[in-house]
Amino acid sequence: MSNRPLPRLDSVNRDFWTCGADSELRLQHCNDCQQFFHPPRPVCRHCLSENVGPKAVAGTGVVDTYTVNYQKWHPAIEVPFIIARIAIDGAPGVYLTSNVIGCEIDDVDIGDKVQVTFELQDDVYLPLFEKVS
C-alpha cells in the first residue's frame, strides 16, 4: 500500500506517527501512575495526571483479532490484505489497529506473535506488524 490515507499531524499525535524514524514504537505514558494509554492525549485516562509523554515499548505484540479485507474501499489500496488489532506487549489495555504484512492472507490467527516494522509514506511512519516465530 503506497497511497494510504494519512493522519493529520498535530502536537499530540506527532510523536506516535513519527517515532518510526528512531526505529522504535512509542506510546503515550503516564509518569505518575506508570500506565500507557492510547490514543495519545495530554492527560492520563487512568489518573488524570498531565505528567505524560511518549515512552518506548518493545514493539512486539499479539494478534488480538483480525479480518481479511476483500472489498476495494479505496481505489489506491490493493486487496486482499490483513487488518489486525494488536495487543501491545508491555502496555496492558492498549491496542493498535494495523496490518499484518509479509505473510499469506490465510496465515494469520488470533494469538500470533508479531513485531512492529515501519513504512514511511510522506512524513508519516506507519507502524505495521510482521509475524515472528
Binding site: Q71, W73, H74, S98, D109
Partner: protein, 386 residues
C-alpha cells in the same frame, strides 16, 4: 399510565428506495404527515423535534435534513429540540425526546431519521463526497491501515466469535436469511426476494467472516416516530406504546480500544430499569447494519449466554416470524433498507399495534425491544403495550 412516562404515538415512513428523485426534505414530510395522521395530531400540536445526527454538512447523503431546517420548513413552534451525533447511537434521539416529554419541556416530539445515501451518489454536485487531504479524529487510527469501513471494524469482533466461540457462517447466515424472508412480506422493503443458504454461502467476502449479504446497503428514506407525554395522550387517537425502559452505553467510543461492544453493557442496563424480563418479550427488532451486530444484541439482551448466539439462531426457527422470538419482522436493514436505527422502533410499534399485515406475528404481542448501533455506541428501547 403515569403522566411522567413517555410514549410512542404516531409513526410514519416515506417510500424506501435507492436513487429516489424526491427531495429528502419531502421524504421527511411524507413520514411526518403519516405519523401525524395516525396520531390524529396536527403540526400545530408538535412542540419538539429530535433527530440523529443532525445535518451532516461534510457527508450530506448520510443526513441531509437538520432539525432546525425541518422546524422552519414546516412552521413549527417548538419549545425543545435536539439533533446531534454525539449520543448513544441513532435511537438516542428517541431517548432524548422521551426525557424532554417526561420533564415537561415538550408534549409531542417528532423524532426522525432521514437517509439519502443512495441518491447522493447520483448527484455529486449537490452531495459531494468528502475530500480530505488528511484524516483526523478517530479515523486516523483506522483509515491508514485500510480499515475504512465499519464492516472491517465489526468483522474483527465477529472473527473473535468465530475463533473463541466457534461461530459458523451457516449460523450467522440465519440473521440475513430471516431478514430477507421477512422483507419478502413487507411491501415497502427494498429487497423482496428471499435469500437462500446456497446464495449466502457462495457470496463474495467483504471482510472475513462477513460476506456481501451480512451488510446493509445505501438507501433513501425517512422514518418518523412521535414521542408524546403521558399527560398528553388524550389528544392522541392511536394506541400509545409505552417506552418502558431505555438504556445506552459507551464503553469507549472507539472501534479498537474497547474490550467489548457497547451493546453488552446496554443490554445489562436495560433490565435493571424494568420489572419485565427477557421471557416477557414477544418480538425483537435488533440493529443489523451488519448481521453480526444482531447476534451480539441477542447475547447482550440476555436471550442467550455470551458466545452462544450462533447456537441460539442455528437453523433459524427460533427467530422466524412464527418462532418463539420473531426477529426483524420488517426485514431489518439488510432486507428493508438502511433506515439507520429508526426502522427497528417503527416496526416494534407496528407489531404491538397488530398492523403488520402479512408479516404480523401471531397472538397479541405486548412487549418488544428495538435497538440501534452495537459497536462503540448502543441504544436499547423496551416498548410495551400495557
Amino acid at each position: 399510565m403515569s403522566r411522567n412516562e413517555a410514549f410512542i404515538t404516531g409513526i410514519g415512513q416515506s417510500e424506501i428506495g435507492v436513487r429516489l428523485e424526491r427531495h429528502p426534505l419531502l421524504l421527511t414530510v411524507d413520514a411526518v404527515k403519516e405519523a401525524l395522521q395516525e396520531a390524529g395530531l396536527t403540526i400545530d400540536q408538535i412542540d419538539g423535534v429530535s433527530t440523529y445526527p443532525g445535518r451532516a454538512s461534510g457527508m450530506l447523503g448520510f443526513s441531509p435534513i437538520g432539525s432546525d431546517e425541518l422546524i422552519d420548513a414546516l412552521g413549527m413552534k417548538t419549545t425543545w429540540y435536539a439533533g446531534g451525533g454525539e449520543i448513544t447511537s441513532q435511537l438516542g434521539a428517541v431517548v432524548a425526546a422521551a426525557d424532554a416529554v417526561r420533564t415537561g419541556q415538550a408534549r409531542h416530539v417528532i423524532c426522525y431519521r432521514t437517509v439519502y445515501e443512495a441518491a447522493a451518489f447520483t448527484k455529486p454536485d449537490e452531495y459531494p463526497m468528502p475530500k480530505r487531504d488528511r484524516v483526523d479524529s478517530y479515523s486516523q487510527w483506522l483509515a491508514p491501515f485500510g480499515a475504512i469501513s465499519a464492516a472491517n471494524w465489526t468483522a474483527q469482533y465477529a472473527m473473535r466469535h468465530v475463533k473463541k466461540y466457534g461461530l459458523t457462517r451457516e449460523q450467522l447466515a440465519q440473521i440475513s436469511l430471516t431478514d430477507r424472508a421477512n422483507a419478502a412480506l413487507n411491501p415497502k422493503a427494498l429487497v423482496r426476494e428471499p435469500l437462500t443458504m446456497d446464495e449466502y454461502m457462495s457470496a463474495r467476502m467483504i471482510s472475513t467472516p462477513l460476506c456481501l449479504f451480512d451488510c446493509d446497503r445505501y438507501t433513501d428514506a425517512s422514518t418518523v416516530l412521535i414521542v408524546s407525554a403521558g399527560d398528553a395522550l388524550d389528544e392522541v387517537k392511536c394506541t400509545p406504546v409505552r417506552i418502558a425502559a431505555m438504556a445506552g452505553s459507551v464503553d469507549r467510543h472507539s472501534w479498537d480500544q474497547a474490550e467489548w461492544m457497547a451493546s453488552y453493557a446496554t443490554g445489562r442496563d436495560l433490565w435493571k430499569r424494568t420489572d419485565y424480563t427477557p421471557a416477557d418479550v414477544d418480538t425483537v427488532q435488533l440493529y443489523d447494519g451488519f448481521s453480526f451486530l444482531t447476534l451480539t444484541w441477542l447475547e447482550a439482551l440476555g436471550f442467550c449466554e455470551v458466545g452462544e448466539g450462533g447456537k441460539f439462531i442455528e437453523g433459524g426457527q427460533r427467530i422466524a416470524l412464527d418462532g418463539e422470538l420473531p426477529l426483524n419482522t420488517f426485514g431489518g436493514q439488510i432486507g428493508a433498507g438502511r433506515l439507520h436505527g429508526f426502522g427497528f422502533a417503527h416496526e416494534a410499534v407496528v407489531q404491538l399495534r397488530g398492523l403488520g399485515g402479512d408479516r404480523q406475528i401471531e397472538g397479541d404481542p405486548k412487549v418488544a425491544i428495538a435497538t440501534s448501533g452495537g459497536g462503540p455506541l448502543a441504544t436499547a428501547l423496551l416498548l410495551a403495550k400495557d
